[in-house]
Every structure is written in structure tokens, then in C-alpha cells.
Assembly symmetry: C2
Homo-oligomer: 224 residues x 2
DNA sequence: CGGATTGTTGATTACTTTCAACAATGGTGG
DNA sequence: CCACCATTGTTGAAAGTAATCAACAATCCG
């Protein structure tokens, strides 16, 4: 069991990885019949739905979000290939989930996971590790929202996307509105801030959704 | 094991409870020699310290925080009696912890916990439950920081304190600066917003640290 | 009592939002 | 294949909210 912990420590910091269901599904060119397809902007589940299933992203990007009484949307997180979302402690989902792009998802039955955990110490250790990683992510996000101005928020956001891809060239899967709702800004501010970064030569805006990080150091200074 | 899950579901939503160490310590009038005392504003651990110990609050209030390069402080969370803080996935603490008031804390050895978890399915289930509860808390905080104005932030903050105590009369253990750093505001804005709430008759400011919620409904409307 | 800390209040500034208009893009059907 | 329309993104001007700078009041300790 402690070996499982040690192993976890070696995994990438923010990865949302669970060992179930079996990995093969994401490696096959033709995903088995157990995967589901979701069109861009379609809902996967809604806040308050029974959390019977959680999902692993096989391809595409997913957002989890919450709508407040006055109609404003808060995006809690984006989930990329290989990541897990929708796993809850409570019986209901606390956020809605929607497809940012066309997606292939692998739905996993929650009770299956819990039964596996009951039988298998390693499985539950993974559950725990998953929860703690998500926690780190959520805390980092709180810090970003609480302490930073628009420029810093965008800086961190772009650096994260770039780091995830391991490349200075970023293809944004989400709209400006998505970015705004994730960073606690408005579309206009996101747009203006990106324009400002381009004017300063920190990034190059090839197309609206295609950005190249020109000066990573300066971006990191901003994001500090 | 599933019984343990069901039990967890009955516990208060945001409680940060772990079964270790044994509960008796918090019930004795004279805590045993294993507890530690911390004076107000003293540091418990610093960001980057080895996360050898985590802590349970026996009395007092603790804040976990992070200092950014430009000297600004972000308070991640406040921990009250019975709650656990400083439990990490990584080997180092990601935040500093400080005593908001004079505190009595019960330090717990991390490896002790992990060994217990390795041997005991219920123990690790509690670990998992703890992590997921903290996650809910962190996500709610992100939402608050990302989507709300000063008035709404203060509304939610005061309602939480009031709910925790189960009383409309609140004794604030923290300074305005603490509140500001927790809500992503400045001291001045916190002070002004509280004054505004008082002028509107929503709260009554007995002393700076002693607030009575006069009109809970209106406060909830603000906080929505 | 006196000094330091904490909290309040006022005036000004800065940043972000809001409102508005327009440009670019992408998908669809003729 | 192109034109058209809806969606998405950008930019400008004005307004609003919170931050900053500054001064003062209240409170807490020694």
C-alpha cells in the first residue's frame, strides 16, 4: 500500500487519473462499444443529477460548471484526455458537465468503483490520490481567482495550456466566454488582455484559437 | 466498506474529520501531553516544510495561507475545532499554517496514518472522505472568488460563520486583513462592506469582532 | 497611561465591467 | 463554390466597483 503511495508521488502533479476502468479502452484506435460520444456544447450531466456515473475523457475537452441565480456561469475546471471528472462523494453531481469540443467519454459506474475499492486496497488508494490531486488543482485555482488581476490570470492560463501540451504553440479548444467564466472575468477583458499580450510581444495570435507563446519568461513573470 | 461510505454520507457536509488519532483527546478537559499549544499569530508550519505531521484543531482557529512574490497573502482556508489541516499528498506542505487565535493542536504523524490506512480499509476510506470534503470546500471557495462582488462575498462569509456556530451572533476570531485575504479583497473594502451591511440593517456591529445577523433572509439573498 | 495594532472613513485612482458597434469566422444551403 | 447568416471575437467609450493612498479612531496590551 505504501508502495502505491510512492508510485503516486511520481505521477504528474495535476493528473486526474484513476485505474478503472481498465486502460486498454483509451489505447484502441476503435474504442469499444462502452464509450459514448458527445457533440460540442452538449450536456453530459446536470447539477443535481444522480452521480451514478463518472467519466474518463478519451478525446476532446469537457467543462464542469455551475449557474448562479442571476444567470452567471462559473466554470470550475476543464478536463482533457485521460482525466476523470464527475466523481462525487455525495449522491448527486455538484456541477454540470458539458462538452467543450466533440468528445468521446468512457462512462464508469460509481458503484463498480466503490465495490472495487472495498475489495482492493490499491483501488481505494487511487481514489484517495485522485481526490487529493483534484484538491491541489482546486486550491491553485482559488489562489488564482483571489489574488490575481486579469493579466496574471491569463498568463497562468496560457502557461498551463502550453505546459499541458508541452509546446509553445497552443490550440485553444474553448471560447473566450469559457475562459472568462473560468477566470472570473468578462469576454471583453479576456479579449483585451490577450490583445495586450500580443502587442507586448509576449504571445503571437495566429488565429483567435491559435496562440504561440513567444516569450515564456515574460509570461511567467506576469503569472508569478 | 460500503457501510463506511454510507456512514460518511451522514456526516456534516464540510466537516474535516479523520478518525485518527483516537477521539478521546478532544473530549478530555485536560488534553494529554501529546497536544501542542500555539500562540496567536505564531507559525505552525511553512510552505515547503516536510509534511511529516498534520493537525487536528482541539481549540482555537487556524489559517492556511500562501505568500506570492509581490508579498500579497492568500488565505486558503480557516480551520475550526475538530477540523483537520495540513494533510498532503506530496511530501511537502503546499501552504503555510498559522494560529489565528491561541490554539491547542493535536499533531498526528503522517506515516502513522498511512500505515493505519494500509492495514485498515475503514481508515483509508476516511482519508478519502476527508479529501473529497476538502475538495467540495475548495470548489465552493473558487466559485465565491470567481463569481461574486464584495457584498456577496461578505454575505457568504458571515452566513458560514453563523451556520457553523448555529447562532445569529458571531464572534469573529480573525482580523479584517484575514477576511480580506480570504475573500480576495482589501481591508478597506471589507470594512466598508460591513459598514454598508450595518447601515442597511442586515447586521448589527456590536464591536468590530462581534456581529449579530439581524436579517438572515436578506443576507441570503445577497449571497445567492 | 501610552504606544502599537487594528479598524474605519474619505478622496482619488485604476481596473474591470457594461453597453455598443463592428469584424472575423465558420457552417449551411442555394 | 460562394453568399449568407449566426456565432464568436474585437474594439471603443462610459460607468461602476474595488484598490490605493491617507488620515484618523478605537482597541488592546504592557
Amino acid at each position: 500500500m505504501l508502495a502505491a503511495l510512492a508510485h503516486s508521488a511520481l505521477m504528474p502533479r495535476n493528473a486526474a487519473v484513476l485505474p478503472f476502468p481498465a486502460e486498454p479502452a483509451q489505447h484502441t484506435r476503435q474504442p469499444g462499444p462502452q464509450v459514448m460520444n458527445f457533440a460540442q456544447d452538449s450536456g453530459i450531466y446536470e447539477e443535481g443529477d444522480d452521480a451514478t456515473y463518472f467519466y474518463k475523457v478519451v478525446s476532446g475537452v469537457v467543462r464542469t460548471c455551475h449557474f448562479s441565480a442571476d444567470g452567471r456561469r462559473h466554470i470550475d475546471a476543464f478536463y482533457h484526455v485521460g482525466e476523470i471528472f464527475g466523481f462525487e462523494l455525495a449522491s448527486e453531481h455538484r456541477f454540470s458537465a458539458e462538452a467543450v469540443t466533440d468528445c468521446v467519454l468512457l462512462p464508469c459506474h460509481r458503484h463498480g468503483m466503490e465495490e472495487a475499492a472495498a475489495l482492493d486496497g490499491v483501488a481505494i488508494m487511487h481514489l484517495y490520490t485522485y481526490a487529493m490531486r483534484q484538491l491541489d488543482r482546486a486550491r491553485a485555482h482559488s489562489q488564482l481567482l483571489g489574488r490575481c488581476n486579469a493579466m496574471q490570470k491569463l498568463g497562468v492560463f496560457l502557461l498551463e495550456l502550453s505546459a499541458r501540451k508541452g509546446d509553445a504553440e497552443i490550440e485553444l479548444p474553448m471560447t473566450r466566454q469559457d475562459i472568462a467564466d473560468y477566470l472570473g472575468l468578462t469576454v471583453e477583458t479576456v479579449s483585451r488582455t490577450i490583445a495586450h499580450l500580443e502587442k507586448d510581444g509576449v504571445i503571437c495570435l495566429m488565429r483567435a484559437r491559435h496562440i504561440v507563446v513567444k516569450d515564456r519568461d515574460r509570461l511567467e513573470d506576469l503569472a508569478a
